[in-house]
């Protein structure tokens, strides 16, 4: 099993190394840039507010980066198999769920690089910057949250990407049906908010996508 994992990891590295390298650089740079020149001990309360606003605006890049990494790594994990119509994968001598786990695991191992880069970048940024009084740096919490976000994004897109064109069609069909129901309900003056309900279920805590919402603050009160 170790040899199989190494083989799968190698192929996945070859397919996604550009994504991993660029993602790692971005993940390292964002925390550093978010505090660049902003944190000085002589700042007063008003400047601290400016710092928080700056950190908050940079913070919106973390979920975006997590989503982009999850999406691109998931696509890279399955694209060659899709091109070969999965014949090679299906004729390998192991249960299909094991093959899927190998691919999933290899992708997540590679995503460890940008996750580590966020942790290192955030630690470095908070150690080198002078945080104004009353504010705290949360590099570990930020890195843990980024890890969860990357994991969720990768898992969701991996599952979708693993499917056939038919699966993608079904997902799009469900989305289209929801939109249709909402439009029809609007025309018929029925008090139905499908989008609101979907948002409550998926995005608001403790929904599976809640990790992407809210403020991503390296420095906060």
């Amino acid at each position: 099993m170790t040899a199989m994992f190494r083989a799968v990891l190698y192929t996945q590295w070859k397919w996604s190394r550009l994504i991993v390298v660029l993602g790692t650089l971005a993940a390292f740079a964002i925390p550093l840039l978010s505090l660049q020149g902003a944190a000085r001990a002589d700042r007063g309360a008003v400047q601290a507010q400016d710092l928080l606003r700056s950190v908050q605006s940079w913070g919106s890049l973390y979920p975006l980066l997590a989503t982009a990494l999850g999406l691109l790594m998931a696509i890279a994990a399955w694209a060659p198999d899709h091109r070969g119509r999965h014949i090679h994968a299906l004729t390998l001598p192991l249960p299909r769920w094991e093959y899927v786990l190998l691919r999933f695991g290899a992708g997540f191992v590679l995503l460890a690089a940008p996750i580590a880069a966020v942790a290192i970048g955030a630690l470095l940024a908070s150690l080198t910057a002078t945080i104004p009084p009353g504010l705290q740096a949360y590099p570990i919490a930020l890195a843990v949250r980024f890890t969860f976000a990357v994991f969720v994004a990768y898992a969701v897109f991996f599952a979708v990407s693993a499917g056939t064109a038919r699966t993608a069609g079904i997902i799009l069909g469900v989305i289209a049906a929801i939109i249709l129901v909402q439009v029809v309900a609007g025309i018929a003056n029925i008090d139905l908010n499908v989008f609101g309900a979907a948002q409550t279920v998926f995005v608001l805590g403790p929904g599976p996508l809640a990790v992407f919402t809210g403020r991503w603050m390296l420095v906060d009160v």
Partner: protein, 298 residues
């Protein structure tokens, strides 16, 4: 002799367009088994069912003694497969593909892989996508042989290749069988090619099996007879009547299967006489079998 592949009453359907129905196949262990049929006859679908890539709607498939697709992981560890179309990732090099494959097969023979890389003159550093059609076919054969399976399933492995590459591949296959006593199940519509290497043959058309027999029996039992004076109705003959046509006043031309020389007496007892018995090669026999099968189905 046990069967490397045993199929009973296999049923599979794709929409309303194509159906495999009541297919029985028995591939003896240690044989080189040719699976003949025109394009679209169901050869590739049957192979995919055998390998567990598709799930049958009915019937039973046993490969190397294990039911498929239930035990596909165990079975596939002992089966080398070369699909009709190159299926490997175009961005990996020859060496990377060999290493990838080696990791999955416990019986992988590195020595054989290296020997075949040299014999087939493959460049290990070249990307699969940059290989010629012949080189791709050779690499896929190499991967199937180096995993040291007990069964090789080859789906039109030499289709569209030049004669030199075809000969290299067939020679490697024959060497493998003689060294390991493995079974080869090879599908093709290139009749002459199978005639040279196979000891069993099955013919399929429109999802149905037309015949399955030892190659010698099919080759030597399919004849064109020139017959005169036979009645229009001849009951149940001991041979298979594949076609019967009048031949410009010079009697009739019959194409028969399962023919034995002593069967001339059967025709003579009916009041006819056999004026000539002409050997048909496998391709002629194949064409007559298809023609007769399609006529009956119409």
């Amino acid at each position: 002799m046990t069967d490397a592949i045993h199929i009973e009453r296999l049923h599979y359907r794709v929409g309303n367009a194509f159906e495999i129905k009541d297919l029985d196949l028995h591939v003896p262990a240690g044989s080189i088994y040719g699976f003949l049929g025109p394009n679209g006859s169901g050869k590739t679908t049957t192979i995919r069912l055998v390998l567990g890539l598709l799930r049958p709607l009915g019937g039973r498939i046993t490969v190397l003694g294990s039911p498929m697709p239930e035990r596909h992981a165990k079975v596939l560890a002992r089966v080398g497969y070369v699909p009709e179309q190159p299926h490997l990732d175009v961005t990996l090099t020859v060496r990377e593909l060999i290493d990838f494959q080696a990791a999955f097969y416990p019986r992988w023979d590195r020595g054989r892989a290296e020997e075949l890389v040299e014999r087939f003159e493959l460049d290990g550093a070249r990307l699969f996508g940059r290989l010629s059609k012949g080189q791709k076919a050779k690499l896929m054969i190499l991967l199937a042989l180096a995993q040291c399976g007990d069964l090789l399933v080859l789906d039109e492995p030499t289709d569209g290749l030049d004669p030199v590459v075809r000969r290299d591949i067939l020679s490697a296959l024959v060497t493998y069988v003689s060294e390991r006593g493995a079974t080869i199940f090879i599908s093709s519509h290139l009749v002459h090619e199978l005639e040279r290497v196979c000891d069993w043959v099955a013919v399929m058309d429109d999802g149905r099996l037309i015949t399955e027999s030892p190659m010698e029996k099919l080759k030597h039992g399919t004849k064109r007879l020139v017959v005169s004076g036979a009645p229009a109705e001849i009951g149940n003959p001991p041979f298979r009547m594949l076609s019967r046509e009048s031949s410009n006043g010079a009697g009739e031309s019959w194409v028969v299967g399962d023919w034995e020389p002593e069967m001339t007496s059967y025709i003579e007892n009916l009041g006819g006489s056999v004026r000539d018995v002409i050997d048909l090669d496998l391709e002629d026999g194949f064409v007559e079998l298809l023609r007769s099968f399609r006529k009956v189905r119409q």
